[in-house]
Structures are given as structure tokens and as C-alpha cells.
Symmetry: C2
Subunit: 418 residues, 2 copies
């Protein structure tokens, strides 16, 4: 069978299964997730054997140590996947929930009912745990899912797919509700992106190259996240100790992720008092600073920031620093160079806190808290399937609710339109 | 300037204006809409002069009488546009509303704030009133909008655009927040669909050909509605008078629209009692019936339905009729041939009403009411910008709320992530 024919068959099976998934009771879906968790733990040595095949090929093809690290399944990562499934099973099931209803003058009672999206296509790189995490969330929300992981993780992903399929079948759910694309060719991705009649949503997770490829080639709606160029703005009246704690956390607690701070903006009236001590803390943490001219007037030993540093997503212990004359200038800088991902202010001023929250255009806007809180778990959504920086359907972390939509339901007594 | 350069410049101006629109006070936006309404009425003879130029060209190029009718501006249509703007001004402004907030264990207070989408591209055919209706809703929701109407309405749309721009400027809002594409070339549409950095959403309104062209050529998310193949299912225990009223209304009250019934499904246990009297009512109303074999056993004089009739959107006084053995068969028929637009059941049975509402996959599902209620105004959303039959972001009629999205806002006291 050609790659395209394989994908078409998978998409049709996913669509057929999605109707059964949409009607499945919460307890059935939960039973399947819990059974997956059990099977993962029972089969962990077999899973590691399959993973080993991927690792051998990865070493032969010269993958970087970092990539190999992400690819490796350990007992701990398998246990984490199982624990993740139990968490998703414990989440409230949104499907079938009715919104508060309203009644029309003619007596029609109208409400919105939450329903699954249908079929979701996940396209992702390296980490095999995404296979389990994404399948768990999509299935719990009553969807079918087609999973296309990195070709370097194919053995691992197929072994995980077998676990998922077995758990689905044992609990009376269709095995085709979660399928892993079984071929390495990139043509499989292109074919997947053309199945607009069967697939309702594509979620790509990975580098900007992958995501741009998906957007450029898809006729299906895509929930995407290009990059996180996040700022903290330290306002003129900020409590400086609080500001230092937040900035340090935002930069160094996990510098390689999308919600880490990449540029620090400081009000000029706070810069003299704030920057020298802050710079010492960053230096102790190994952070390399790159400052604007005014910043280098206060911190003469740091490197000069270039124009390329302002829109940069360093994902590393590097921080651009700029002194601004006002909050308005900080907001304008965010609008010009940010990525609508996460923006924070540290301030003691009530009016400016309100304006910042209203006017900053980002998926998560924080007052007096670290940018690192842009995360589904941290914001109370439960497990997340990604972070959207485009505004349609979802903006910000996407939890189980964002894997559903709603239809209108109307209860009448024979009403007709006049 | 080339067509593409014109579009790029318009898109950039729209994007710049959108930041100002997003910050505009409700009273300012309302003042602009009310001023537009005034100016429309003041200028109605000038508007009709411009419209006349379009009509002359339309007749020269041999447009159909129906198309010319849709293109024509009368005093009544101008008055209706002005009245529509007043209605939109009276709608509650969703922008800035905060959802109920929740508090995390670390004390962070989290909520969602409703925000405009940004820049909306409307691509539509013939009717010039869409220019005003769409601009009113988009602006009220704090967005910028680029309007691309049918080339046959260009003079009318440019005259309406001048009214909109004047009202925006007089109330201190950016004129570029609502722009009409000033060229006839179709290349303008293609160029518009490529401005993904500036435009957040495309809404096409028109025939299936237009919509498929937009979906195939857009890198920007599209809210679309291909067609409405709507069903009424008359259940075995339905009250037959109620069923007849609903079916007649769904078919004949306005047969040319997307929420009219196209196929009637009748439970076999009700068919003998229901269909003869129903057929007489349809006959009096001029409806041509096309039945399945079982239906023709009861109504021998009607035409036989062919396989092409089941997925057909007649938009006319034609109705396909099928007798089904069960509600499950009716739901399966809707899934196979419907368009996820509007589906209704007429029933007296509690359990089946609940199952129908849960299991039918359509943007609006009704019990004991006419399909004609799938409409933003009828369902209480206020004016609508269209009906979405795709599930992302909006499913069903789209009102002002669907022209917004939400961001997360987080209020802290110095929290950092552990």
C-alpha cells in the first residue's frame, strides 16, 4: 500500500471510531486510560527493548546527545506516562455538559452542549511520551487521534500504540480511536494534512520549522505555537526584591522552555536601584546579559544587545535587557518583538496593573508572577496538550476543554418561525 | 501600485488600527456605529447613485435578475442597514469581560479575559448590506476588518466604505479599522489570503465554490459554512399536528436558505398516519416531493428519490422523503448525508429526545421546533456574522462573542514556580 493510501485508510478508521468515542460513557473512557497505565507498567521492559532499537539507529545516524536524551525511555519516564494517564482519568469529563440555558420570548429553551471535536491529528518530534500524553487527553475528551511522532521514535511509538490499542479493545472501545502512523516517510505528514474530510484539527508540537511546514501544507485548522519570546517588565514602583525573585525564576528555573523570559524591560526610574543587584544574581546563575545602551551605562561590563537580540528566543542562559521610559514603551516593545505568548509586569501601581492586563496582547498576561506559570497544570487546567499562540479556538495553554467544542441544543414545544 | 502591494498595505494598516480598536471604550465604538447609521440615512440618494453605476454594469454584463435584485440598494435596504447598526450598538460589549476566576493553591488568581480577535477578512458576494452588517459587528467587537465584496458591487461598497471611514474619524477611531478592497481583480482575494502575519481570521460568505476556493488558498484560519442539508425526523410517537406544523415551516417558510429542511425522515410506525395529510399540505404549498420506495407505497403519485437527492441542498420547494425503521436509522442517515448544520426531531418520547440531542452531530440540534431557528437572532445571540459548520472556534451561528477570543490573566503577589 502507498503511504497516501495508508493515511487515507487510517483517517477513515479514525472518523468512524470518533462517532463511537463521542458516545462513550465517562467511566468507559476512564477504564481504558487506567488499563493503559497498568499495561505500560507491566510491559516496561518490552517497551525499553523497542526503545533500544530506536536508540541504536539514532546513534548510528549521529543524533545529538540532547536528542538521544529526549528519545530515551527509562523506568521513570514510563512511570511518569502511567501517572499522567491516571491524572487525565481523574479529570472531569466535559463532554455532554450543558451551559446555563436561556429562554427566548417564544419559549424556546437554548443551551450549548460540549461535544468532542472529532478526529485530531498530532504531529510531533522526538519524545515518545507525547504519544501517551496526547492519546490520553484526546480520548478522554471523546475524540479519535492519529499520532505522527518523529521517525526516529517509530519503534517506541508503535510499542506504545500497541498498549493503547489493547486497552481500548479490552474496555470495548474502538482500537482505531488512537493510531500511530506506521511509516517513516515525510509524505505521511503531507498526506495527513490533506484529509480535511476526516480530520478536524491538527496540533503540531516541535520546532518552528515543523510548525511552519504544517501550517503551509494543511487544509485542516491548525492550533499552533511558533515560539515564546516572553518579557518581564519591572515597573517604576515595583518591589525590587519581588521583581528580582520573579525575574530570576522566569529566566533560570528552566531556561530551555517557551515560557522562560528572554528579554527584561526595566523602567528607567527603577533601573539604577534594580539592575546592579539583579545582574549579580544573574551572574551567579550563569546568565549572560546583553544590554541596551542605557543598561550598559549602569552595567558597563555586559555585552551590547544587537537588534537581533530583541526578537530572539534564546532558550538558553542568555538575557536581553532594555531600559524603557514608561510602561507604554514596554508594551510597545512587547508588541513589536514579542510572540503573544507570555508577558508579565512587576508593579505596585493599581492603575498600571489594570492597564497592563487590558492592553498587552499575549495568551497569558501576569501581574507580579513569573512567566513560568504559563502552563496548563500550573493554571489549573489539568494536563495540557500544548500552548496556542494563535487566537482562534484557543489562546494559551490548551487542556481537555480545548479538545472539545460546543453545539447548540434547542428544546421546544412545537415552535415554528414567524 | 500592484494589487498585491495594495492588499499588503491595507493589511498592515488594519493591523496597526486593530491595537487602537482593541483599546477603544464601548461608548466610542457605539458612537461610531450610531454615526454610521445617521450618515447612511443622510446619504441615501448618493448611495443609490453609486449603486446605480453597479446596476448598469451588471445589466450590461448580463447578471441574472435574482443577482441584480440582491445587488440593488433601495431606501428600505439602506434603512435596514441603519437599523442593524443601531441594534449592534445596543449589544453588550464582550471585550474586557473577565470569566469567573479560580485561585490556585499558591494563591495565584486566574481568569480569562475576552479580547478582540484582531483583524478579520470578510470575503462575500453580491449583497452590499453585508459591508455594513459585517463592519458593524467586527468593529463593535474591537476588531479591524477588511471587506472584499463582489466585484459587481464595487461602487456601492466603496460608497458605504466612505460612510464608515467618516464615522470612524469623526468619533476618533482609525479609519483604517474598516477598509473595502478597492480593486476588482480576483488576485486581491488570493493576496488577502496570504497575509497571515496581519490577518487573524477569514470569514467567507457565499456559494460553495467561493468558500472552497478560500479554504484551498488560505494560510489564515477560516470560519466556513459549505451548505445546509437539514433534516426533520418525525418519531413514532410524535404529535402529528405539531410535526406537520414544524415540517411545513422548515420547508416552505423560506426555502432558499441554509436552515430550510431538505429531507424529511419519518418513522415507519408513524408514516401511514402522518404522510398522506402532510403531503396534501406540501402540495398546497407547491412543494415537490421525492420519496423512497416505502414512501411511494403510501404516496404513489410522487416522484422517486434518487441517490443524488439525499445529500442535495435544493434551496427550493423540493423535498426528499424517507421512511426509516428507527431513530438510530434516522441519525445514521443524517450522519451519512447531512452537513452538520441543523437537525430536528419531533417526538413525545423523553428518552429518545435525550439521545437525539446527545448523539446528533450538528451545529444546532432541536427537539420539537423548526430548523429555521438556526439563526443568531432567533437563538438570542443578536446579529450574526454567519453560521459555522466547522467545529473549531465556533460551531453554529456566530454572534459578536464569536468575533472575540480570550486570554488568561493572572494576578499574583510575587509567586515563582517551584
Amino acid at each position: 500500500m502507498t503511504v497516501e493510501a495508508t493515511i487515507i485508510e487510517m483517517a477513515k478508521a479514525a472518523k468512524t471510531s470518533s462517532a463511537r468515542m463521542a458516545r462513550s460513557a465517562t467511566k468507559t473512557k476512564n477504564a481504558a486510560l487506567l488499563r493503559m497505565a497498568e499495561l505500560l507498567l507491566q510491559r516496561k521492559s518490552a517497551l525499553r527493548d523497542e526503545n533500544q532499537k530506536d536508540l541504536v539507529l539514532a546513534r548510528e545516524s549521529g543524533l545529538s546527545a540532547a536528542m538521544i536524551d529526549r528519545l530515551t525511555l527509562t523506568d521513570a519516564t514510563v512511570a511518569a506516562m502511567a501517572a499522567g494517564l491516571k491524572e487525565v482519568a481523574a479529570l472531569a469529563d466535559p463532554v455532554g455538559n450543558l451551559s446555563a440555558s436561556w429562554t427566548r420570548p417564544n419559549g424556546l429553551q437554548v443551551a450549548r452542549m460540549r461535544i468532542p471535536l472529532g478526529v485530531i491529528g498530532m504531529i510531533y518530534e522526538s519524545r515518545p511520551n507525547v504519544t501517551i500524553d496526547a492519546a490520553g487527553l484526546c480520548l478522554k475528551a471523546g475524540n479519535s487521534v492519529i499520532l505522527r511522532g518523529g521517525s526516529e521514535a517509530l519503534h517506541s511509538n508503535q510499542a506504545l500504540a500497541a498498549v493503547i490499542a489493547q486497552a481500548l479493545e479490552e474496555t470495548g472501545l474502538p482500537a482505531a480511536a488512537a493510531q500511530v502512523v506506521p511509516v517513516r516517510e515525510r509524505a505521511a505528514v503531507t498526506a495527513l494534512l490533506q484529509q480535511e474530510e476526516q480530520i478536524d484539527l491538527i496540533i503540531p508540537r516541535g520546532g518552528e520549522g515543523l510548525i511552519r511546514f504544517v501550517v503551509a501544507n494543511s487544509r485542516i485548522p491548525v492550533l499552533k505555537h511558533y515560539k515564546g519570546v516572553c518579557h518581564v517588565y519591572v515597573d517604576r514602583d515595583a518591589e525590587l526584591d519581588m521583581a528580582a525573585d520573579i525575574c530570576l525564576n522566569a529566566k533560570v528555573q528552566r531556561p530551555g522552555v517557551c515560557n522562560a523570559m528572554e528579554t527584561l524591560l526595566v523602567h528607567q526610574a527603577a533601573a539604577d536601584r534594580f539592575l546592579p543587584a539583579m545582574a549579580r544574581q544573574f551572574e551567579s546563575a550563569g546568565v549572560q546579559l546583553r544590554g541596551c545602551e542605557l543598561t550598559r551605562g549602569i552595567l558597563p561590563s555586559i555585552a551590547a544587545a544587537s537588534e537581533e537580540d530583541w526578537p530572539a528566543e534564546f532558550l538558553d542562559l542568555i538575557l536581553a535587557v532594555k531600559i524603557v521610559p514608561s510602561m507604554e514603551a514596554a508594551i510597545a516593545h512587547m508588541a513589536a518583538y514579542g510572540s503573544q505568548h507570555t508577558e508579565a509586569i512587576v508593579t505596585a501601581d493599581y492603575r498600571r496593573s489594570r492597564r497592563f492586563v487590558r492592553e498587552v496582547d499575549a495568551s497569558v498576561v501576569l501581574v507580579n508572577a513569573s512567566t513560568r506559570f504559563n502552563d496548563g497544570g500550573e493554571l489549573g487546567l489539568g494536563a495540557e496538550i500544548g500552548i496556542s499562540t494563535s487566537k482562534l479556538h484557543a489562546f494559551g495553554p490548551m487542556g481537555i476543554n480545548e479538545l472539545t467544542t460546543s453545539k447548540f441544543v434547542v428544546f421546544g414545544d412545537g415552535q415554528v418561525r414567524q
